[in-house]
Each structure stands twice: as structure tokens, then as C-alpha cells.
Symmetry: C2
């Protein structure tokens, strides 16, 4: 089979979304004197975290969103971090809060997430936002999942009703919300995990295959039905020749021979996810200021 | 094939659970002078609602749980209902609250559910409890789903890791939480809905088939893999010879010829669900009184 897959690049879509966000930010400033602001709390850090944050800051700047960086040393106690978060919760000039997740394993990341006001939880990780999504009233939805489904609807099929979607990986931040969104699109949805027997048998039935394992390169050509849409939400750090690289779950060169569509890593879902995050910050700002959402949404997003 | 399916009766399991609940209720009374109490708010009513409530009251009595019935006329406004719910939220002698759901369609059932204190939401319908389940920290889980999975673990396979479970029906109260629980058991889980193409192709792959459509008799023998475990969470009211009957999603007589296990309706999941509800009320009472849960749980449930 020829290299048939259309490659779904995320950069152009992301740029377009960021322009729309920029317009919305501008309108909020002009009409309501609001400065849309995202606070990022980082505890400890490493090269990859710093790079990711630099990227988010750059995209925020592109969208006209102000950022505040709160960098805390690795050894900061949970109580101290929560005090910082709580200050941001009560700061009316801050509309969205991110807590960067590259924390040492011993730390109770869930406790920090729950400390964020759900109305400012633009990552969509808080229990309240997970519950709203589970109950079909999505508020803030994790951005990678949102971006993956957005790309399918935009480039593959705007109404994938009745399609069989297989999500590989029952992860909180990617696979799980992606499955929920696909069910809302009225797909038939299968969620696989590490204990799935004969993964290729099941993933090979997928019209839409969403990879969300964070296991580098585990999705091979043999897992993919010819012509399927393959969306890679995975992200792993690997070191090649002393250089840190981000790779996805999908063996791109293999899978593109079989699939109908495939998102690359990097440059596929990632940039759109960051644009979705900026859109969430604008939504948060509007809601916190009780601005008419429907009317403005139609105009800006 | 011979009538091979083992019929999973729920009554004996329910009775056993209710005895355990009774012991726990007794201990709470003896040791902490607590009277475990369930409040039921009913707005409007019909014969089937009354019968269901009588059943819950009888089972509560069997378990030693005190019930309070708050019956409001059909025309009661949402505000008035919420005032009643709020009174119960603040009443320390009430541990669990049910709002009966046979409300006229125009009414905003979600608003009433959200008015219940999540700590007293023994039905597990509140957004907070849905979010906790979505995030793998289940608090109160909808009882039919809990009962269905309990019966599988008890009678079919205590650790169905890697089994393929197919849930037919993406309903809030049954299919959706059942899918989540099966994922927590590390099953591969497929959720089907009304738009699923070739349902029998997919349901026929299931080791565990959970029916949750509330469409009477829609699951036929041809939907079932030989030897599968079939759990019927459906409930429809039909009238036969002027008599109201409750029937499930599964054509029992047909499916029992094919399946390995099948739960009947009535008498399968239903009684266990009510026992689960009573267990939830005891859990609610303990948590509200900050009694050591783990230690007591081991002894009583």
C-alpha cells in the first residue's frame, strides 16, 4: 500500500485558534477592561518542564493572554503550595490556574489539583470538572483530549455518529476524557488498557484509533485498520544521542502506510491543545465576569 | 445448546448484605447512639413509584435503617422542593437523601440532584460523586451499576482482568457508571449506544454483557456470545392484561439458552441494588460522624 495517510498537522489549526483567542482577548480588554490572565504554578523543574512552560508562555503571548509564573523550589511543602494556589483562587485578576505536573512521585498531585478553584481549573483536572464531563455538561475538559477530538471533527468527519472509536489507554488526562467526548459524539467507544488481550484484534476494528498510553511507539501498523483515523495523544520523553526528544505512542512511519489519517508527534495534537488551553482561559475570564457566553462564543470561538 | 445459563438470583445475596447492614446499624446504635436514617423525597407519584418506595422502605426496615418519607404534591415548585432538600442537608439526624425521579419531564431533575449534599447523595448521582468515580476515588456509586458488578465478581469471576465487557446503553445511572467500574476492574470496555452499527457484532464479542438501555427485550440470543455473563440493568414498565409489569432489556428465555450466566428481571440486580443503597446509607452515616471507616468496613461489609 502506498503512503496513503493524510498527515494532520496541528500548527495551522492552532494558529487560527490563537488568532480567534487574540480577538476575544482584545474585545474583553476594549469592552470590559479585563486583562485575560493565566497563572502557572511550577514546583521543581527540569529541562523538559522548562521547555513546555516556555512554549505555553509563547503561545499565551501570541494570543494576548497575560501569564504569571509562580516558581517554587522542589522542597516546598504541600501546605505552602496550596497557600499559593489559594491566593490565586481569590485573586480576581487571575482567570486560569495551571499546576505543572512534573512533581516528584511522592507528592500528592491530586491534593494540589483539588485545591484549584474549579472555575479556574483550565486544565479540566478537578473532580468537579470531571463530574461535569461525566454528566454531559462539560465545563473545562482536558486540552489534549479536546484537541484530538477537534482534529477528527475538523479533518476527518464532522459528525462521526456510529463510528467505532478505540481508545488505547485509560489515562485520567487523555484517554478517559477522549472516550467521554467520543461517546458524546455518539461513537461506539472501546477503552483498552494494559490488560487487554489481543489488542490488535480490538484496535484493528477502529474507525478512529486514539492512542493514549504514553508508551513510546507501541502502536504499530498491525494495530491499525486500513483507512482509519489515528490520533496520537501520547507523549514520552526519550533520549537520543544525549538529546531529549518527545515522541508519541504511534510509530508514525509504519502507521502512515496503513492509516487514512494520522497526527504526528510533535506537531499534531500538541499545538492545538495549547490553543485550547488559551481558549479555556478566555472562557474562564468570561464566566467569572458573568459575560454573556453564548453571544460572545458565537463571535469569538 | 441446552439451557445452560446459570441464573444469578439476587435475593439471597441481597438478604445476606442486608443482614450485614443490620449488624452495622446495630453497632452504630449501641456504640455511638446513632440511628441510621434515610430520607426519601417524593414529588408526585404513581402506582409504580409507590410500589418501588414501599419496597425500599421494607428493605430499610429489614436492615434496621430508619426512613423518613417526604411526599410533595406534583405541583410543588423546584424552589419549594429544594427548600425541603436543604433542610435535610442540614439535619444531622438524616444520613442519606433520595429524590425519587418519576418527575414530570418538564422538571429540571438535575437541579434537584445537585441540591443534595454530596455527602448524603447515597444514589451517587451528584456531579461531585460522578467526578470522584471518574477519578477513581469512588464515594457513592449508583446502586444498580454497583450491584451488577458485584454479582459478576461474586458469581462469575472475582478478578475479570482483561475480560472484554460490552455495555449496551450510555445511561447516566446505569451504563455509564457500570463501564467505569468495569474499567477499574481492568476489563477492556466497549460502550454501545443507539447509533452503534452492527450491535450483535460487537456485543457478540463480550465476555461480560451489561444491558442498560431500558428498552424492553432488545437483547436477543443473537447478541450474546455463547458462555458469556449477561447482566441486565434495564427496567421498563409494560402493561400486560391491564397489569403493570417491570421487565428488563434481556429476552431471558432466549438468552439463557446461549449465555453462561444471566440475571433475571425482576429478582436479579434489583434486590442487590437496594441492599447496596442501604450499605451506602451506613457508609454516609459513618463518614458524617467521622468514624474510622476502614476498620469498621472490614468488620461490617
Amino acid at each position: 500500500m502506498a503512503s496513503g495517510a493524510r498527515v494532520i498537522e496541528g500548527h495551522a489549526t492552532a494558529r487560527e485558534m490563537l488568532r480567534e483567542v487574540h480577538q476575544a482577548v482584545h474585545d474583553l480588554s476594549e469592552e470590559h477592561r479585563l486583562t485575560v490572565t493565566l497563572a502557572i504554578v511550577v514546583v521543581g523543574q527540569d529541562a523538559a518542564t522548562l521547555r513546555l512552560i516556555e512554549n505555553k508562555k509563547a503561545r499565551a503571548e501570541e494570543a494576548g493572554v497575560r501569564t504569571q509564573l509562580h516558581t517554587l523550589p522542589q522542597e516546598t511543602s504541600d501546605e505552602e503550595i496550596i497557600t499559593v494556589i489559594d491566593g490565586l483562587n481569590h485573586d480576581g485578576s487571575v482567570h486560569g490556574i495551571l499546576v505543572q505536573h512534573y512533581l516528584p512521585r511522592y507528592r500528592d498531585a491530586r491534593r494540589l489539583i483539588e485545591a484549584v478553584d474549579p472555575a479556574k481549573d483550565v486544565d479540566g483536572f478537578h473532580t468537579r470538572n470531571a463530574g461535569l464531563l461525566a454528566n454531559d455538561v462539560p465545563a473545562f475538559v482536558p486540552c489534549e483530549a479536546l484537541a484530538g477530538i477537534h482534529l477528527i471533527k475538523r479533518f476527518v468527519e464532522p459528525r462521526p455518529v456510529g463510528w467505532h472509536a478505540v481508545v488505547v489507554g485509560d489515562t485520567h488526562r487523555t484517554g478517559r476524557p477522549a472516550a467521554r467526548l467520543l461517546l458524546s459524539e455518539r461513537c461506539t467507544v472501546t477503552v483498552c488498557n494494559e490488560d487487554t488481550r489481543d489488542l490488535a484484534d480490538i484496535s484493528g476494528q477502529a474507525d478512529i484509533l486514539v492512542a493514549a498510553t504514553n508508551r513510546a511507539g507501541m502502536i504499530r501498523a498491525r494495530h491499525v485498520k486500513p483507512g482509519a483515523a489515528v490520533v496520537d495523544l501520547g507523549r514520552s520523553r526519550i533520549t537520543v544521542n544525549d538529546e531529549l526528544r518527545i515522541v508519541g505512542d504511534v510509530r508514525f512511519d509504519e502507521v502512515r502506510e496503513v492509516a487514512g489519517w494520522v497526527t504526528p508527534v510533535p506537531g499534531g495534537v500538541g499545538p492545538v491543545a495549547i490553543a485550547m488551553l488559551m481558549r479555556n482561559v478566555v472562557t474562564a475570564c468570561r464566566r467569572q465576569n458573568r459575560l454573556d457566553e453564548k453571544a460572545r462564543h458565537a463571535g469569538a470561538a
